[in-house]
Symmetry: C2
Subunit: 244 residues, 2 copies
């Protein structure tokens, strides 16, 4: 696949955007860099005249934008997602700067990958970040790191285009990474088994599932590995039922 | 001088901006990357409530912004200026992409250097470009290269910050580059002499002065070299008057 064609596999996901102007400006920023796959989670107002005005000649992206009710819907069939955030995190995933992060996701972009951007005011929630595998940090003035949402998208998409321009793509990923759907099914299966076996108390779950997510996020599971793990879980379940 | 301090030597000049919102968004983009030196040439409306709203917490930059009547005023005491443009030029100067250009200007930023951005609709005029030494091109989608003005500023200032972060500044310039004022005085002196000697017909100037400008732009004159050239011109004048 041509490097610049890969840009079209890349989703930009905006979560709970308050200002419709930022959605339009994001569409324009994406199109100037050759991306065209915009997902919106519960935008406050969309479609909206201000979004269309700010999109200028990128209105086609707004027309094709996918509006979702939650993050899970927006991540369907993706194989890698980066949370773009300025806030430090308690449960830290791998943190890359915008340049490294763009290169890294582009390596996987023979299948759908995503960049997730949070609310204008409060950024991403911990739950949202826990569904990502990487955190991307845009270097900024520590005294005023508050980038406009569409400008943050502009920097990320610019870095993607710069990475795609490089003559030889370094380290293209040829394995078969597991999709969001496969990994979420694994987590669900695992959680059920943990509860059934009294390892996890659903009334006091603590951070157990988040720690599991972090571990597997670092590992970047392959599809076959998910099958193996689920096979193991099924086997444990079966044995356990049999011996009870 | 600390690399990040150099960012404060760097002027962002907006020429004839139509939409005050873009001025505010530019101030915010600059401040997030640690720049604070904004020049405005003949803005359509400034100060303006929309500019202030879009600047968010970067209103201090708007308050300190220098409003000029023409480009010469905005370039006072600069030693190097880059025209940021998407259009190809007849009289082409050295062309760098945003990353190379940011690194190059930062090398000179122990004294004032500038990035010049044109009108939202029509970009920079040929006359404006002819007062710059470098053209900077932001890589973009050829089918839609129309970046929003403040987003173009965001990419340039982001690249400046990335360049400033690099541990060892490569090839800091230790010579004494000539200032805009010194070079313009040289051009004026040269032009007068060309006219007096009938080499240049002021009624049919063609592109002669532009070609001279391009030549010296490539050379990046030092202050001492300008003195030498002006000494030569004075000497020629004197000799010529004497023999006449």
């Amino acid at each position: 696949m041509d490097n610049l064609q890969r840009l079209q596999q890349i989703r930009i996901i905006l979560s709970h955007t308050s200002h419709p102007g930022n959605i339009g400006a994001t569409a324009r920023a994406m199109k100037t860099m050759g991306l065209d796959c915009l997902y919106l989670i519960n935008p406050k107002s969309f479609p909206d005249a201000e979004a269309s005005a700010r999109a200028a000649s990128a209105n086609d992206l707004l027309e094709r934008a996918v509006v979702c009710q939650n993050l899970d819907d927006a991540l369907q069939h993706t194989i890698l997602t980066a949370a773009v955030t300025a806030r430090p995190r308690e449960l830290s995933l791998e943190v890359l700067d915008a340049r490294e992060g763009a290169k890294e996701l582009l390596r996987y972009a023979h299948r759908p990958v995503a960049f997730l951007f949070g609310r204008e005011s409060a950024g991403l929630t911990s739950e949202e970040v826990s569904k990502c595998q990487i955190i991307i940090h845009i270097p900024a003035n520590p005294a005023y790191p508050s980038l406009n949402l569409a400008n943050a998208v502009q920097i990320i998409t610019y870095e993607l285009r710069m990475a795609a321009r490089e003559d030889a793509m370094q380290g293209e990923v040829t394995t078969q990474p597991a999709s969001f759907n496969e990994i979420e099914s694994l987590y669900l299966h695992l959680e059920q088994l943990m509860i059934a076996s009294n390892f996890l108390d659903p009334r006091r779950p603590k951070l157990l599932m988040q720690r599991i997510r972090r571990l597997f996020a670092r590992a970047r599971l392959e599809a076959e590995e998910v099958q193996i793990l689920r096979g193991l879980l099924a086997s444990l379940e079966k044995y356990w039922k049999h011996t009870r």
